[in-house]
């Protein structure tokens, strides 16, 4: 390996580390803990692990919609399981984000029935309007566009998920309106 190649490699690793290692402040509030305990109570006492998926949802919602390694460790501690048991689940399910994401994530369904109704053109339109490619948050961290697989709203296509809710029968005008509403802080993301 030449000197040049070695420097390149070191540089690439540095970039990768900067990109993947983000700090997250962890704050498990009393109300969040109460909700977690309620979820744990849904299962027999020796089956706390079963509450993992719902607990990860709650914790993620309370932490800017993503789960750092530290936060996943915290969840493992709460549920009395090994950290790896949380990591393997967080990496399996698509709804858990393991890096910071845009506050308003436009998750477009891109499976066949939505495509028949023109979702691909709408995604292009949204990306162009926000000036970002699919899967990358805007510089202000406010928006992110993603393509996801079937969301079960084929009869109301084209559609997307925004927070806990669906936005259906989308048009360019509706997307413009949604972006404006998000900027004006008029959109409720979570139904708590």
């Amino acid at each position: 390996m030449t000197q040049r190649q070695q420097t390149d490699k070191a540089f690439r690793i540095k970039i990768k580390m900067e990109k993947t290692h983000h700090k997250q402040e962890i704050h498990i509030t009393d109300s969040l803990m109460a909700r977690i305990n309620e979820l744990i109570s849904h299962y027999p006492a020796d089956k706390r692990k079963s509450a993992l998926l719902p607990v990860l949802h709650e914790v993620q919602d309370a932490h800017d919609n993503w789960l750092s390694i530290e936060l996943q460790d915290k969840v493992a501690e709460i549920l009395h399981i090994k950290p790896i048991e949380v990591y393997e689940v967080a990496s399996f399910y698509t709804m858990f984000n393991r890096r910071p994401v845009g506050k308003y994530m436009f998750e477009f369904c891109q499976t066949s029935p939505c495509c028949l109704n023109g979702v691909e053109n709408l995604m292009d339109y949204t990306c162009e309007k926000l000036g970002v490619p699919v899967g990358e948050p805007t510089a202000d961290g406010l928006f992110e566009v993603r393509g996801v697989e079937c969301l079960g709203a084929c009869g109301y296509a084209p559609m997307m998920q925004l927070g806990d809710f669906y936005q259906e029968h989308l048009t360019k005008e509706k997307i413009d309106q949604l972006i404006d509403d998000c900027k004006a802080n008029k959109i409720t993301l979570h139904d708590k």
Binding site: Y93, S112, C150, C154, Q161, Y166
Partner: protein
């Protein structure tokens, strides 16, 4: 109009709430079952009804229930599969969103029949707002005394909770769902043992679809024999169909099984025909996993009989000329839809959703996606069509769960019925580039071009 069993009260204002639901005869099946019937009598009624699993496989529900292990003395569980994620299907969401207490009532009655004291509804993560609707409905039911200890003073105890998933199609497979409910990755288990013997926390477990459970109250209130009178032959009762694609009235419909496909597609009471003047090209009757059918096999079977909305008629002729009722995800395509693009889209879906346990599926779905992607983008090779057939035949039947089959059937069917279109993509790459996601030439023209071309 045909008889409605699940959606008959859907238009009653406020039916979402407990009070209105109860005033309209809600929870009567729980009263009847707990006070006047033994659990085995409820199972018998469901057996008599001929009700079949509405999630896609169509397995007789009563028979599934009778497999549950009662001898071991272990606690038993009923789990409702609300992880609806088959492309083209959105019926369960409709039921849960607009009449959540119907599912809860069905869960209580069915849990009683199976002798379960702890049951769960597993709902997909994306339906987060529906999850909240169900949680609130459960709290209402609990406050009204339908859940908890000693329900209606009969000594029967039941706890029922909803559990939320987090975005994995594979969790619709019953053993993967159980794994997920245990807080693990959704990797399907090897069967046997079947869940009826060893399911959730190794306890005997029955997993049923939302629509199946929602049909139980009517069967208990009336009778299994009455339910069996609706429909034709072994396709008894009603079925929810979620219709999407190039049709006038997209949405969820409850039909009596046995309705003709022609009437369903063209009657104003149902789909109301095509959405534009473009002719019908193809349809998928039961969600993305089932084989696509071309226009000439939609209204008539290969034998020339009317095609009906039943398990048997839709699968008439096997996969050579038939398809499956599946989950009732009805996707209709007009002649602007590109079958290659559609097949690539489905393959991408299955590649994304493969859990990665079995190599034929993990690798094969990726290969299907890649080969279809290059055909679709004008880089196809002459041997690619046969390559696709070879890959799909090596996935099918070689995996733990049916996802491998579900990924390979649509590819095989698309090539079986629309091979010309694949070859057109390969031989005329310049014609399919830079188009607005649709084929530029109508399908008949494609055939003509392919026939003229010699290599």
């Amino acid at each position: 109009m045909s008889q409605k069993i699940l959606l008959d009260k859907i238009n009653v204002p406020g039916i979402k709430t407990y009070e209105v639901y109860r005033q309209n005869g809600g929870y009567a099946s729980v009263e009847k079952a707990l006070k006047t019937l033994t659990p085995d009598e409820v199972v018998e009624e469901v057996k008599t009804s001929g009700l079949r699993g509405r999630g896609g496989a169509g397995f007789p529900t009563g028979m599934k229930w009778s497999f549950i292990d009662k001898k071991s003395g272990k606690p038993r569980h009923l789990v409702c599969n609300a992880d609806e994620s088959e492309p083209g299907t959105f019926k369960d969401r409709f039921l849960m969103e607009y009449i959540p207490h119907l599912l809860i009532e069905g869960m209580i009655t069915s849990s009683y029949a199976l002798g379960c004291n702890l049951s769960y509804i597993y709902i997909r993560g994306e339906y987060m707002w529906v999850y909240k609707i169900l949680e609130r409905a459960l709290a209402e039911a609990r406050a009204a005394g339908w859940l908890g200890k000693n329900i209606l003073g009969t000594g029967y105890d039941l706890e029922l909770y909803v559990q939320i998933g987090a975005g994995a199609y594979i969790c619709g497979e019953e053993t993967a769902l159980i794994e997920s409910l245990e807080g693990k990755r959704g990797n399907p288990r090897i069967k046997p043992p079947f869940p009826a013997i060893s399911g959730l926390w190794t306890n005997p477990t029955v997993v049923n679809n939302v629509e199946t459970i929602a049909a139980v109250p009517w069967i208990v209130n009336n009778s299994g024999a009455d339910y069996a009178k609706i429909g034709i032959g072994r396709s008894t009762g009603t079925k929810l169909i979620s219709a999407s694609g190039h049709i006038k009235n997209q949405g969820v419909y409850e039909i009596e099984l046995g309705l003709s496909v022609y009437e369903f597609m063209n009657s104003d009471a149902y789909l109301g025909g095509m959405s534009s003047d473009r002719p019908l090209k193809a349809f998928v009757p039961g969600g993305s996993s089932v084989p696509v059918l071309p226009a000439n096999l939609i209204y008539k079977t290969a034998a020339g009989e009317d095609r009906l909305m039943t398990y048997e008629s839709l699968s008439d002729g096997g996969f050579a000329t038939g398809s499956m009722l599946g989950s009732g995800g009805f996707i209709v395509y007009n002649d602007t839809a590109c079958i290659v693009r559609n097949t690539w889209n489905f393959s991408r879906f299955y590649h994304h959703e493969s859990c990665g346990q079995c190599s034929p599926c993990r690798e094969g779905t990726g290969w299907l996606e890649k080969v279809l992607h290059r055909i679709e983008n004008g880089h196809g090779r002459e041997e690619d069509v046969d390559l696709l057939l070879s890959i799909q035949s090596k996935i099918e039947g070689n995996t733990i769960c049916p996802l491998g089959d579900a990924a390979s059937w649509p590819v095989a069917a698309a090539i079986r019925h629309f091979r010309d279109e694949f070859e057109y993509h390969i031989r005329f790459p310049e014609k399919i580039k830079n188009r607005d996601h649709f084929v530029a030439e109508p399908f008949e023209q494609v055939k003509h071009l392919v026939a003229k071309q010699t290599i």
